[in-house]
Every structure is written in C-alpha cells, then in structure tokens.
C-alpha cells in the first residue's frame, strides 16, 4: 500500500503544480454546455435529452484527462523509473485510475451545478444522492478504461487521437447505462427512482473491466 500511496501522492502533486488536467476538463465542459444551450435553441432540457447531454459532456471532458494521464511519465522518464522498481506494476494502473476518478469528481463539483444552472429545467435537489451514486459508478468505469487505454496510447505518436478512438467504443455501455439511470432523475415531472437493471449493468461493467485491466496491465507495460 505504501507504493500506491507514493504513486498517488506523486500524481496529485503533479496535478496541483501544473493544473494540466482538471481546469482544462472544467472549462471544456462549461464550453460544451454553452454550445448546447445555444445549439439546441431551447431554454432548458429534461429527461433523456438532459441525461444524454450530461453523460456525453462528462465523457468528452474526461477524454482530456485521459490524454494527459500518462504524459508526464512518458515525457519525463517516469515510466522507466517505475519499471526499474521491484514493485507490482498493477499499482500504477490503480493509482492512475484513482487519480482520474478524483479529477472527475472535481470536474463534476463544478460541472453539475453549471449544468443545472445553464440547461436543466427541474432542480436537482431531491435527486442528488442518486445522481452522486450514478456519477460515481460512471466515473469508476471511465477511470478504469482511461487508465488502461492511456497506457497504450501514450507510447504512440498519435496518442491524442488513439486514446479516444480506443476508449470511446469501450465506454459505450457506460454511456448507455448512465444515461438510462440519469433519465428518470432529470425528468421535469420530478425525480423517479433508479432502474435496478441499469445499475447492475454499470456495476458489473466496472467490476469486469476493473478485473480485466488488472490482469492485462502488467504485460501492456512490457517493451
């Protein structure tokens, strides 16, 4: 666990010193909301449209985080430094996934109120606990895929393109399940309950891809 703590401390310190990920993700998400606000030519959205906008915006803003996740390690020799250490390489994956999860939470702290203010017809008040649960499961799925795909993409010349190209198809189930879960929470008529089917799908996705990623991450780092 001390290895994980060391990796996490390094990740968070680098982000706090450089502000390379979170501010960019926040600004990007706000920009998308403004574009939707004018592009849809409507004062507000609700239900499935609101759910779709929220999930897609989160996904695209998260892609900025994916693209930056391993850049410092690749450009500054951090990969080699880590690979020379006698530690389980899976810790790097776990640390990157946790760090990105934290960045997504920071993003949502700004993004969700901004979404409610700029676009959403109903308030979020009563749906907040359910919304937090759905976003946490969505973040987990995204962070797992991003930590895995980022490690592949960063070693290629077209990393900014390759990361999203691999990650987006893998994240389609997350988008569908998250939108399915958010739709009743964002209805104009008032928040409905969470659909257990979508909740199970999202939870299962996180579990399966989490285990798969742990299994394949070490060989991925091999030359």
């Amino acid at each position: 666990m001390s290895v994980l703590a060391a990796l996490l401390r390094k990740e968070l310190r680098l982000e706090l010193r450089t502000f390379e990920s979170v501010p960019g993700m926040v600004l990007f998400s706000l920009t998308i909301f403004v574009v939707f606000h004018f592009g849809l030519d409507r004062a507000s959205v609700e239900g499935d449209l609101a759910a779709g906008i929220l999930v897609v915006t989160l996904l695209f803003a998260g892609m900025l985080g994916l693209n930056r996740l391993y850049v410092a390690d690749e450009e500054q020799g951090g990969f080699d430094g880590f690979l020379l250490a006698p530690v389980d390489r899976t810790w790097l994956f776990v640390a990157k996934a946790i760090a990105l999860f934290a960045y997504l939470v920071a993003l949502e702290i700004v993004m969700v109120p901004a979404f409610a203010l700029l676009l959403l017809e109903p308030g979020l008040g009563q749906a907040l606990p359910e919304l937090a649960l759905v976003l946490a499961l969505t973040n987990a799925g995204f962070a797992i895929i991003a930590a895995l795909v980022g490690a592949i993409a960063v070693r290629t010349r077209a990393r900014d393109l390759l990361g999203p190209l691999i990650a987006l198809p893998l994240l389609v189930p997350v988008v569908i399940a998250a939108a399915g879960l958010l739709e009743p929470l964002l209805r104009e008529t008032g928040a409905g309950g969470l659909d257990a089917k979508w909740l199970a799908i999202l939870g299962l996705y996180d579990l399966v891809f989490g285990l798969l990623s742990v299994a394949v991450f070490d060989p991925l780092l091999e030359d």
Binding site: V3, A85, P86, V87
Partner: protein, 228 residues
C-alpha cells in the same frame, strides 16, 4: 568470483532495423565494462536490455543470476540506471522525486537527504527540477540511480553536463566502496578516460561488437578507430 553479466549472441532489432547483434561476453561481479562506439552504435540499447527495460530479440542474457526477460523480476531493484533521461519529474523537487523513488524501492527516507548532500544539492533540494541547470539535473539523476544501492550500475555517459568538480564529487557514489565495489557498465566517448576506469572494454559499431577484451590490452588508438 561470481559472474554479474553473461551475454550470448545478444541481439535487438526494432522492426527491420538491427540495433544490436552478436554481443557475447562475461563480466565478473565488481568489475567495470566500458562500452565505446559512435552515436547509434547500440550502447544505450545494450544498457536498456541489461536494465530489463528492453527485451532482447535474439540470444540469451543473464544479469545477477536472472535470465532476462523471463526472470526480470529477480533483477529489478538490484540494478541502477543513469541514462539520457534523468527519470525525474520536472515539477517536483529533487527531494520529492527521490522520496518517491525511495518508497518504490523500499529505501528509508533519511537516505534521500544524505544523497542530496553528497551530490551537492542539499541547499536546492526543495526546488523544482525545472529550475535546475543540466549539471544539477544530472547530479540529482545520479543520486536517484544509486538511491537503492544497486549491485549493478548502468551509466550512459554519466559525466555528460558535469563540470570537473561535480564529476569528481559523484565518483565515490558511482564506483562504490573498496570493500564493495559496484559492477558497472559505462558508456563513454572518451577513449583515455574510459579505458582508465575499465576492466573490460567493448567497442560497438552499427550494433555489432568490433572490439572486446581486457582494458589493459586495448589501446586508445583502437578505440579512436571506432569513430573513424
């Protein structure tokens, strides 16, 4: 005397391009192998294979008793690499960088400050690496490479960017102690200086060994011919 490195017909190719081929040698523990050769001769590739960072495409490699890449886990943590990349995060201070590596290697935090003092960076240890001169970065990188007191030290032109005083200050760290001399593989472009510290000399050209033998039997002129 135990053997630290055994290479038999070692080769490495990047696609069609052969970076290293036909390297066979045995290096006893505690000795220094100095590798000479012009840029692109395969020196850094050899070091990265020995460090477990690259897989050989042909031949066999045994380092510190472990066959690579199959037993790389036995070797990691016993090897130190000072390459062209300092392996230090620019936005972190030297102390933060070394403490990070110390935790990865299970080394006590006190050793970090000892080493930073030893390389003359004690006063600037809290400053970000991005504010250091190239020589200071090289000194911090050297401290990182020996942080875990490795049995085998791989040094890729270790004195690059260092003034003579800094190079001299680093010498004890890089050579080890008389009681426990380090096994070292050093790349160099300095025939006289390289031969002076070598027990065994290897000359590479276009990835192939063209010179190999005890350093005492190799002349500066032979090394110089590699570059012509």
């Amino acid at each position: 005397m135990t053997t630290a490195i055994e290479l038999a017909d070692l080769g490495r190719a990047y696609g069609e391009r052969v970076a290293l081929a036909g390297v066979s040698l045995t290096l006893p523990a505690g000795s220094t192998l100095v590798v000479f050769g012009p840029n692109g001769a395969g020196k850094s590739t050899l070091l990265r294979i020995l460090a477990t960072l690259l897989r050989p495409t042909t031949g066999t490699v045994r380092v510190l008793g472990g066959e690579l890449p199959r037993e790389a886990w036995k070797v990691r943590g016993r090897v130190g690499l000072l390459g062209h990349e300092p392996m230090l995060y620019r936005e972190l201070s030297a102390r933060e960088n070394l403490r990070y590596h110390a935790r990865l290697h299970g080394v006590a935090a006190e050793r970090v400050d000892e080493l930073l003092d030893a390389v003359g960076l004690g006063a600037r240890a809290g400053d970000p690496i991005s504010t250091y001169s190239r020589g200071m970065v090289q000194r911090a990188a050297a401290a990182r490479a020996v942080l875990h007191d490795p049995e085998l030290l791989l040094l890729d032109e270790p004195r690059a960017n260092l003034d003579p005083a800094a190079a001299e200050a680093l010498e004890p760290l890089l050579t080890g102690t008389t009681e426990r001399p380090r096994t070292r593989v050093v790349t160099s472009h300095d025939p006289a200086g390289g031969l002076a510290e070598a027990d065994v000399a290897l000359g590479l050209r276009d990835g192939r060994p063209v010179l190999l033998g005890p350093a005492a039997d190799v002349t500066v002129e032979q090394i110089g011919a590699l570059y012509r």
